[in-house]
């Protein structure tokens, strides 16, 4: 079974067009080159697609790490 952080990593890898293995466990917004502004756009839309609803402003602003992504994926 894939845990939440692994799912988050997979989604971030898809959005950032990079290998899952290249993503550090402690990755944070602004500190990993492939996670750029367009990757962030794809990431948020990817989360929304995965959970089947639009994120509200309070949820979207919290996306800064794998843990944050995992929390939204539920």
């Amino acid at each position: 079974m894939i845990n939440g952080c692994e799912q988050a990593k997979g989604l971030l890898a898809e959005a950032a067009h990079c290998e899952v293995a290249s993503i550090p466990d402690d990755v944070r917004i602004g500190q990993f080159a492939p996670w750029d502004s367009l990757a962030h756009l794809r990431l948020v839309l990817g989360i929304e697609q995965r959970i089947g609803r639009t994120l509200d402003a309070d949820e979207a602003i919290r996306i800064e790490s794998l843990k944050d992504i995992a929390a939204l994926l539920g």
């Binding site: 602004g30 750029d36 502004s37 756009l41 402003a57 979207a60 800064e64």
Partner: protein, 192 residues
């Protein structure tokens, strides 16, 4: 039309870009095309505008390099303008509010905003008496939100239903970001 003479124009260089206060003669067809493009203007919630070059030049002439700056971003390699910043200054509160448009889509996702804005933050904090910078992207302008966060700005609040959508009239949420002179100095120290 001549350059407004009120304040000191900006001339800066970064690794990839030249930043300078725009002159009315910079009002190009390329820029007018950005204003007509919903993909460029939509995330800013700005109405699509069919301005003539003359109207655009008049708009540029309204910037005085004191309370309003229009600063072009030019690719060093080609000298072509790829976007612009509009910075509104409140001199009493020593605050500068930043807006940016990168009109050339080939440059999207390439770190233009934060490279250029870093030089502008240095300039406004170090040489123009500014003590706080602000920015207010729409909550669904995810690339802009990324840029603020990646550059170390703080999310100071969410203005719920603050704007009317320029395309359809729905209420839109907006974030308020801020960055003080001290926070920027600390962030610069960390980057070195």
């Amino acid at each position: 039309m001549n350059m407004p003479a009120k304040g000191r124009p900006i001339f800066l260089k970064t690794a990839r870009f030249a930043l300078r206060s725009l002159k009315p003669s910079d009002g190009s067809e390329r820029w007018a095309n950005w204003l007509r493009d919903p993909e460029v203007m939509g995330p800013l919630n700005a109405p699509v505008r069919a301005w003539t070059s003359q109207e655009l030049r008049a708009h540029i002439a309204s910037a005085d390099n004191e309370q309003r700056y229009l600063i072009g971003v030019f690719d060093n390699a080609t000298q072509i303008q790829i976007g612009f910043f509009m910075v509104d200054v409140d001199p009493f509160h020593r605050r500068a509010n930043f807006n940016v448009v990168i009109g050339e889509k080939a440059w999207w996702g390439k770190g233009v905003v934060n490279e250029a804005r870093a030089a502008l933050l240095d300039e406004f904090f170090d040489n123009r008496g500014i003590e706080k910078a602000t920015g207010a992207p729409l909550s669904r302008n995810f690339p802009a939100v990324f840029n603020y966060k990646a550059q170390g700005w703080r999310h100071e609040g969410t203005l719920r239903g603050h704007c009317t959508s320029a395309s359809g009239g729905a209420r839109l949420d907006q974030y308020q970001f801020g960055l003080t002179k001290e926070e920027w100095a600390a962030a610069r120290g960390r980057q070195k």
